[in-house]
Subunit: 160 residues, 2 copies
Amino acid sequence: MTTLGKSTFLWLGLALTASAGIAIAQKAAELDPAVAARQAQMRLVGYHTGILGAMAKGEREYDAELARLAATNLNTAASFENATMWIEGTEQGVAEGTRAKAEIWSDSAGFAEKYDQLGQASAAMIDAAGTDLDALKAAMGDLGGACKACHEDYRGPENK
Amino acid sequence: MTTLGKSTFLWLGLALTASAGIAIAQKAAELDPAVAARQAQMRLVGYHTGILGAMAKGEREYDAELARLAATNLNTAASFENATMWIEGTEQGVAEGTRAKAEIWSDSAGFAEKYDQLGQASAAMIDAAGTDLDALKAAMGDLGGACKACHEDYRGPENK
């Protein structure tokens, strides 16, 4: 575990926080369909990041093929076009059960840039994850950085 | 609405049934993570099919760009690799809250074929949806057929 740096642990913590945030969300049936669809997308991001993270932490045996497929699916989950789900008027405080900040729409270029960062980090992870465990661990920093950067700017506090 | 054939209405009904099936599912936090991830994938399929279906039915104004993006996202949702989420031992009767039949694993080639049918129908929908409303309506048949074919063979009855 000594090859895991501070930043890796930081993102692992963030990933867990993200999962918990989704876990306490309301039943999808009670949400605005666009909000439920976004949370489904985030669930797919989190689920596949979780597989890679468990291998990085040594909680799960490294399997090159499964790691490659998890990274491929993570990249797919980061490839949705935003326009169908990130609909104006569905931000936190207006729509129920969402933590999407109004800045997603008032600073749409910045949001798109952060989303693209996830696309790039997950694309790089495909090769890395399929190579070996050290390469997977090394690629985790950029991936966690992409999660963190977007959440810091565009995700609001937990809903009560 | 006269250009809509029987099969179109059939799939619309099936799509609604599918949504209801997901809507009554348990909170994702209570499910096996693999089951929750599959249901997230199905939610993204259903959400984007719903946008296209609403336009086809005249319940929502046809918008070529939005239709094209919805079809693009539908195709993305149909592009996940199955191996990370369709994990043996997570079928109906074993894992909670799922309708995935054991045949998904005992007849994996058949399941893969049906999944590929959704990939092809959603890929064809991208061009069709962006062309005009008649082309969108015409492409709905194959899309609904793909949903129906897989659900008939690989989806079990509603959970009580």
